[in-house]
């Protein structure tokens, strides 16, 4: 024991591990980020924004490289020709696309009554497969608070779980520890959805559960929306579409598999709902 305490490097290491464990314990769950973390995040946030945007271009390039179907190859070839002859037009197209995405986002947000929102860009994603966390470039300065829902033009993205001064972390809908109260648009049945753990980022799925199985006629293609129960999410935000119905499979408690309406791999602009008063308009 005396030898252990006499060994300074090991002692420092043990103290560091204990401190980090305490930090991990206190950082579990939703929280407002303390000023030290927030300041570090604020310094890194602009660099991260630039790096993430650059990475999107690199990732698109490699994605194109691995696409091998005829249509993909033809598309890639056409894109290459377009890039060669119409570089300026590409920039213009990019602006048009961004404009379309933002317009779609605004139109979607406009379908909700009395909604206040802050727009943000996705500037980072969790590494590894264990969690689905997105980092956004909006924080307390933009009115962002814990547990506020995040949407994009296609539907629900997730909710804010950590807030810094000008950045925040969002737990995505597809995170396997995340669940939302929803309802089936056609039958108005209330139920829940949760993320399904997947090691691939291309096969995002949700599980639908707590459905009153004896009273429902759920079919593939049914649209799932937030029910508004719990008060965190406004009623009527699109969550996904039923892909497969498992009503007989009651051992797992899962009633259906749902495809999320949001393409999490290509998510760029989002809106954080900072306040809402009514349901879908």
């Amino acid at each position: 024991m005396k030898k252990f305490f006499g060994n300074k490097p090991i002692l420092i290491m043990v103290i560091a591990v204990v401190l980090l464990l305490v930090l991990a314990f206190f950082s579990a769950g939703s929280r407002t980020i303390p000023w030290v973390e927030s300041t570090v995040g604020s310094i890194i946030s602009p660099i991260q924004t630039f790096a993430f945007r650059a990475s999107n271009s690199i990732s698109d390039f490699f994605r194109g490289l691995f696409n091998t179907t005829d249509a993909d190859l033809e598309n890639a070839s056409l894109k290459q020709k377009l890039a060669l002859y119409e570089q300026e037009k590409l920039d213009y197209d990019e602006l048009i696309k961004e404009n379309e995405r933002l317009r779609k986002l605004l139109d979607y947000a406009g379908t909700f009554k009395d909604i206040d929102f802050a727009s943000a860009k996705v500037i980072g994603r969790s590494d590894g497969v264990w969690f689905d966390i997105l980092t956004l470039n909006a924080g307390r300065d933009q009115g962002v608070e814990l547990d506020q829902p995040v949407i994009c033009g296609d539907g629900l993205v997730g909710k804010v779980t950590d807030v810094g001064v000008n950045w925040c972390k969002v737990t995505a809908l597809i995170d396997s520890s995340y669940s939302v109260a929803v309802s089936v648009e056609r039958t108005r049945d209330n139920c829940m959805v949760r993320g399904v753990f997947s090691t691939s980022n291309k096969t995002n799925r949700l599980e639908l559960y707590y459905l009153p199985t004896d009273l429902t006629d759920l079919v593939p293609g049914d649209v799932i929306m937030t029910s508004g129960i719990g008060g965190i999410y406004p009623k009527g935000i699109r969550v996904g579409t039923v892909e497969e119905v498992l009503l007989d499979n009651d051992s797992s408690g899962v009633n259906a598999i749902v495809t999320p309406s949001v393409d999490f791999l290509r998510l760029e602009e989002v809106m954080i709902i900072t306040g809402f008063g009514g349901g879908e308009g």
Partner: protein, 175 residues
């Protein structure tokens, strides 16, 4: 000059792991999923073997903390793993020839295995239900092999680019 190269390698590793690879997890034939190496781990362990435990552990703790703060659910787990990995790599500092690729590779593979299992436990505590054997076979083991291979290349690169004096039995200095 070496300080700048050292910083550049650290920033590049951080960028590749947390920004670029987070967009590009590669699926191979539907069996191997989310395949990507842990560059940060490779760099930290290589630093440990070449520079000693203290700088490697410190670099690991800082890189892990920033990654946790910005991208992960909890702040701490990556910092602990990277710090201990740096110390583990540093345990072999000047005990073996720097040319030895087995030491950093084995340390890297073991550290990666432990790191993924710590994250798996945290994911389970958070409420996720990852199927263990499927995840082990389709994700952890392929990534582990890839990380081990990348560690060899990174160690070779770092030894040649940053720590050439080690060949000549000179003391290692960062500047």
């Amino acid at each position: 000059m070496r300080k700048w190269l050292f910083a550049l390698v650290v920033i590049l590793a951080f960028y590749l792991d947390n920004v670029l690879f987070s967009l590009m997890g590669l699926d191979v034939g539907g069996v191997i999923q989310g395949l990507r190496p842990d560059i940060t781990l490779c760099v930290i362990i290589s630093f440990g073997v070449l520079l000693g435990p203290a700088p490697a552990a410190l670099t690991g703790a800082i890189m892990g903390l920033i990654a946790d703060l910005f991208f992960n659910k909890l702040v701490g787990p990556s910092a602990i793993v990277y710090m201990l990995a740096g110390a583990a790599g540093g345990f072999f500092y000047r005990k073996f020839y720097a040319d030895n690729l087995i030491i950093p590779t084995v340390t890297c593979v073991v550290s990666f295995f432990i790191k993924e299992h710590i994250l798996l436990v945290i994911a389970r505590i958070a409420g996720a239900r990852p199927p263990y054997f499927m995840t082990l076979i389709s994700h952890i083991l392929p990534c582990l092999i890839l990380t081990g291979g990348v560690c060899m290349l990174i160690h070779l690169f770092l030894k040649h680019a940053l720590f050439r004096p080690l060949w000549r039995n000179e003391a290692i200095k960062l500047d």
